[in-house]
C-alpha cells in the first residue's frame, strides 16, 4: 500500500525567505507525485507534478520540487516566499490505480512580514 508522510504540520517563515516543505512516500511500485495547495475556503489546486523524466519539476507560483527515488522523497521548495503563499500544502501520490490520490496530512505554511 502507498502512503505519504509530511514531516512538518506547520512551517512559519518570514517573507522573502526560502522555504522547504518535506514529503516522503512509500510505495512498492512506480509512482506519480504531486503537490497541491489549498488557500482558505478554496479547493485543492495542483502546484506541480512528477510523472517521469527530469527529477526536478517546476510548478506554478515559483515553486519547484525534486524527486529523489533513493530517499523516497519529493520535497517542495521556493527560494523566496510571499505573504500570498500562506496556505495549506498537500503532498500526494498516485500508484498503479485509476488516478486515486493518496494524500499526506498537509503542511500549513505561514508567511510573516
Amino acid at each position: 500500500a502507498q502512503s505519504v508522510t509530511q514531516l512538518d504540520s506547520q512551517v512559519p517563515v518570514f517573507e522573502e525567505a526560502p522555504v522547504e516543505l518535506r514529503c516522503n512516500y512509500s510505495s512498492s511500485v512506480s509512482v506519480y507525485l504531486f503537490w497541491y495547495v489549498q488557500y482558505p475556503n478554496q479547493g485543492l489546486q495542483l502546484l506541480l507534478k512528477y510523472l517521469s523524466g527530469s527529477t526536478l519539476v517546476k510548478g506554478i507560483n515559483g515553486f519547484e520540487a525534486e524527486f529523489n527515488k533513493s530517499q523516497t522523497s519529493f520535497h517542495l521548495r521556493k527560494p523566496s516566499v510571499h505573504i500570498s503563499d500562506t496556505a495549506e500544502y498537500f503532498c500526494a501520490v498516485e500508484a498503479g490505480g485509476y488516478n486515486k490520490l493518496i494524500f499526506g496530512a498537509g503542511t500549513r505554511l505561514a508567511v510573516h512580514p
Binding site: 479547493g43 488516478n99 486515486k100
Partner: protein, 117 residues
C-alpha cells in the same frame, strides 16, 4: 476557465438523516471522484466513477454511501443515514480520463462542509 462547482458550501444535518452533496464536474471530463477531509486530518479518497459505475472505492465508502450521475452534468454523493463521524469537508474532483498509466490532472471543487449534529 472551467471549474468544478459544489453545492451547498455548508450543510448541517441531524444524525440519522440522509444528505445529498452535489457536484458539477468540468463538462468534457469523464472521471469523477469524491474525497473527504475530517477536520485536522488528511484528505482521503472515497470513490472514483466512470461510465456510470464505480471504478474504485475505499474502505470508508460503505453501504451508507452511494454515488450517482443523475443527468449529464451533476455528480452526487448520498449518505443514507449520517453519523457524527461523517462530519467533514467533502471534495469532488474530475479528470479527462483516469486510465492507469495515463495521468490526467484532477480538478477539485471548493468542497462542501458537512456538519452532523
Amino acid at each position: 476557465e472551467p471549474e468544478v462547482t459544489q453545492t451547498p458550501s455548508h450543510q448541517v444535518t441531524q444524525m440519522g438523516q440522509e444528505v445529498i452533496l452535489r457536484c458539477v464536474p468540468i463538462s468534457n471530463h469523464l472521471y469523477f471522484y469524491w474525497y473527504r477531509q475530517i477536520l485536522g486530518q488528511k484528505v482521503e479518497f472515497l470513490v472514483s466513477f466512470y461510465n456510470n459505475e464505480i471504478s474504485e472505492k475505499s474502505e470508508i465508502f460503505d453501504d451508507q454511501f452511494s454515488v450517482e450521475r443523475p443527468d449529464g452534468s451533476n455528480f452526487t454523493l448520498k449518505i443514507r443515514s449520517t453519523k457524527l463521524e461523517d462530519s467533514a469537508m467533502y471534495f469532488c474532483a474530475s479528470s479527462e480520463t483516469g486510465l492507469a498509466g495515463l495521468f490526467h490532472e484532477q480538478y477539485f471543487g471548493p468542497g462542501t462542509r458537512l456538519t452532523v449534529t
